[in-house]
Each structure stands twice: as structure tokens, then as C-alpha cells.
Amino acid sequence: MLRKRIVPAIDVLNDQAVKYVQFRNPTIIGDPAELGKKYTEDGADELIYLDTTASLKNQDLKLEWIQRVAEQVNIPFSVIGGVRTVEDFKNLLRAGADKVGVNSAAVMRPELLKEAADIYGKQCVVLGLDAMPIYNDEGEIVRWEVYTHSGHKKTGLDVVEWAQQAADLGAGEIICTSIHKDGMKNGYDVELIKLLSEKVNIPIIASGGAGKIEHIEEVFSEGKADAALVASMIHYGDYTIGEIKSYLQTKHVNVRHI
């Protein structure tokens, strides 16, 4: 049976792993490769690096830390951030990334997903999708809308329709982040993840909102997520990945033993 995956997310600025406080004021928490290795030993099933370096000037720096991660980590890792072209895919995969994520660039030019999948295969094309709920007058959620540019730009696209279109074009996996949940530590957007998992036939990684160990169980059992992204929970030392997995096993969530 296919296991549910626990996926640590590591923010990278220039060539350092950082954590953000209230989405700003990055503080360095270590070397991307060393941190990745540590989480691998703790039982991570996969890693996601979110490259928050704004400038393209640092392209060489980026390839260098990715190469270091590839040297030291023997589980799969994705790199997301700043990818715009098939050439970017090539460079990141060549540097050692197993998967490459695109977000805003895919909304602006959806064919990018197809072009990358045709050459490198769907399995390494990850769609980053940032979502916000739209409410009616009664305050009920009627649908979710896609946002780009780190959640700053409203696109008008319906989340489910965009996810289905992206999967048809060539995305092999979706990381769905609920912007209104991100950093709130009150749980994933279980309703949205469940909807996506039912409507889209590629794996869904739930992102945004995990604060307690129970939230992860909830997004797997109720949200039907294929993988759960964890960040601050483990970066701040509240939980280890081993503790998360042991807890999930007691709740009969099918996770990989270490």
C-alpha cells in the first residue's frame, strides 16, 4: 500500500535555510543540505525547498546549494521558486532536484507545464497552487480562488478548475497552500484538500496551517491528502518527524516506519 507522506518544507534565502516570522524578518536556521539530511534521518519521506531568493542574479548560488542537497540527501526533493522556463527546469534537475515546482509562471503561461512534462515527464512537474476562499453573504465558502505572486495577486481562476487543467497539461503533483490558513497554526484547509483530492487525479500535498500533531491526522483521514507539508512545527522543535509518525501510526494512518 502506498504510504502517506510527511514532507518538511525548508525556506531558502540566497543559500541559507531560513525561517520567517510573520512572513518577514528571515532568520538563518542552517545549511539547506544539512537540515535536509537531518530531517531525512528523522524519517521525512521527501523534502520541499522553497527558494525565496528574489533576484535571478543568484542563479549560480542556487544551483550550488541544490547540488549540495543532492550530494547529502538520499530521498527525493523538490525545488520551488522563481521557475519560469523549460530551461529553468533543466538547470534545476541537472543540479540534482528530483522535482521542480511552478506557481505564478504556470498561471501566466499554462503551456509551460506541458512543455516540461513532455521532456522530463509529469513526475517532476509540481504545481504550486495558492488558494483563498470566496464567501457568500451568509459567510459560507462558495468556492476557492487561485492567487499568485506569493498570495498578492488575485487571478479569478477557480482552484478546482485550474488544478484539473494543470493535471491535464502535465502537472504530476499539486502542493496546495491555503493562504488564509498559512502561519495560523489552527489546522489545514481540510475542506479544500478533500475537494481537490476527490476532483483531481494526481497526488495532493496539503500545505499551510499545521500547528498541532492532530491537524496532520485530520488532513489525511478527512482531507484525503496524499502528503502533508510541515514547516514551523518541526523547525521550532515542537515535534520531531519521528513523533509525528508514531502518533499517526496510533491513529492508523499508513505512514512509513523508520
Binding site: R3, A70, N74, I119, D226
Partner: protein, 203 residues
């Protein structure tokens, strides 16, 4: 020396890194012109599309090189797409493959399961084989694929994995073999499997 086939599309650096870290001498083989006779084992890694990969292998002469080396008794390990290419045909682009093992490569069609099959899943040993040495039965390995191998000969199904159906996740014989998962991305037991292949007959 271990030769690793580089056909452009795949991410082979992790395979290269893993074999180097295990202490084996390795060499990338990019076309028929730069192979050397001191290569005693070959790994055909893989990520990508079967049609694209076969086009490159054929146009560079690597297809003929692989067939010739195998006919001379050199052991060959295919990984993921590299494993699928060992068979006769793939439905991915409906392309003829290397034909070093009998069988075909169909696509997953079970609509109740998501495609690609992506993540950690268990391999059940079907036959004893040196690839499985020091690896417990039902060990988890990392898979990413939408097509799967269907060997014609039952005795060439070495290990199986369940994803809606039971499919052959380790195939082959004592010389030509393949694994559907990525040993280089499957933690310590994946590295053990690579070592099991590389150490046969000494370094």
C-alpha cells in the same frame, strides 16, 4: 568500473553520487564513442519519457552498445524508466524498446488510483535474488511512475508491489535486471540494493 548511461533527460547524478559514495569507480557513458572495456557493470537510470529516451539511445548508438555489452555477459541494472526500457515495447509513445527482457510496458488504467503512482510503497519478494540481500521483505522504496513493467516470463518477476493491482516492481534474471522504484532515493535500503548490484563479482 560501473558505467552509468547518460541519455540527457534523466537525473542521473544521484545514482552517480550513490555508487561513488559506496566506493565504486564510476564513469558516465554519453555515446558509443566513449565507452571503455574496463566497464564491468552498467546502470541505466531513468526519469523521463520512454519515446524521448529511446530516440536518444538509438541516435547516439547507446542502444546497440547496451545490447552488445549484454551479449558479452556484462550485468545491467535498469532503474525506473531505465527498467521499462529493458522490455520489448512501451505504451508511452508506443515505442519499441531494448528488448533485453521479454514483455511490455502498459499504463496504469485503474481509475480509482491516482496517476502517477508517487511515494513510498512496499516490495514483496517473489523470488530470491542477490538484489534483495540484507533487505527485509516488504521494505519501502520510493516510486514515481505512470507505466509499469509486465514481463512475459513469470520467473522474471522478482518482486511485486500493490497499487490497485499487483505489478512487477523488480524484474529480470541474474544478468539483466530492473527496479521500478528509485533505489538512489530510497534511503539506506535503496543504497543497499545498489551495493548488492555493484558488488557482484567484486569491485
Amino acid at each position: 568500473m560501473i558505467g552509468i548511461i547518460d541519455y540527457g533527460a534523466g537525473n542521473l547524478h544521484s545514482v552517480l553520487k550513490a555508487t561513488k559514495q559506496l566506493g565504486y569507480e564510476t564513469k558516465l557513458i554519453t555515446s558509443d564513442s566513449d565507452h571503455t572495456d574496463d566497464i564491468t557493470k552498467i546502470i541505466l537510470p531513468g526519469v523521463g519519457n520512454a519515446k524521448v529516451a529511446m530516440d536518444v539511445l538509438n541516435s547516439t548508438g547507446l542502444s546497440d552498445y547496451l545490447k552488445e555489452r549484454v551479449s558479452k555477459g556484462i550485468p545491467l541494472l535498469g532503474i525506473c524508466l531505465g527498467m521499462q526500457l529493458l522490455l520489448e515495447t512501451s505504451e508511452e509513445g508506443n515505442v519499441p524498446c531494448l528488448g533485453l527482457l521479454k514483455g511490455a510496458v502498459p499504463e496504469f488504467t485503474d481509475e480509482s488510483e491516482k496517476i502517477p503512482h508517487m511515494g513510498w510503497n512496499q516490495v514483496k519478494d517473489i523470488q530470491s535474488h542477490f538484489l534483495f540481500e540484507n533487505i527485509p521483505d516488504e521494505t519501502d522504496f520510493y516510486f514515481v511512475h505512470s507505466y509499469f513493467a509486465k514481463p512475459e516470463l513469470q520467473e522474471e518477476i522478482l518482486g511485486e508491489t500493490n497499487y490497485g493491482i499487483n505489478f512487477a516492481s523488480v524484474i529480470g534474471n541474474s544478468q539483466v535486471m530492473g527496479v521500478q522504484f528509485h533505489p538512489e532515493k530510497s534511503g539506506k535500503y535503496g543504497i543497499q540494493l545498489l551495493d548488492n548490484f555493484c558488488k557482484q563479482g567484486g569491485k
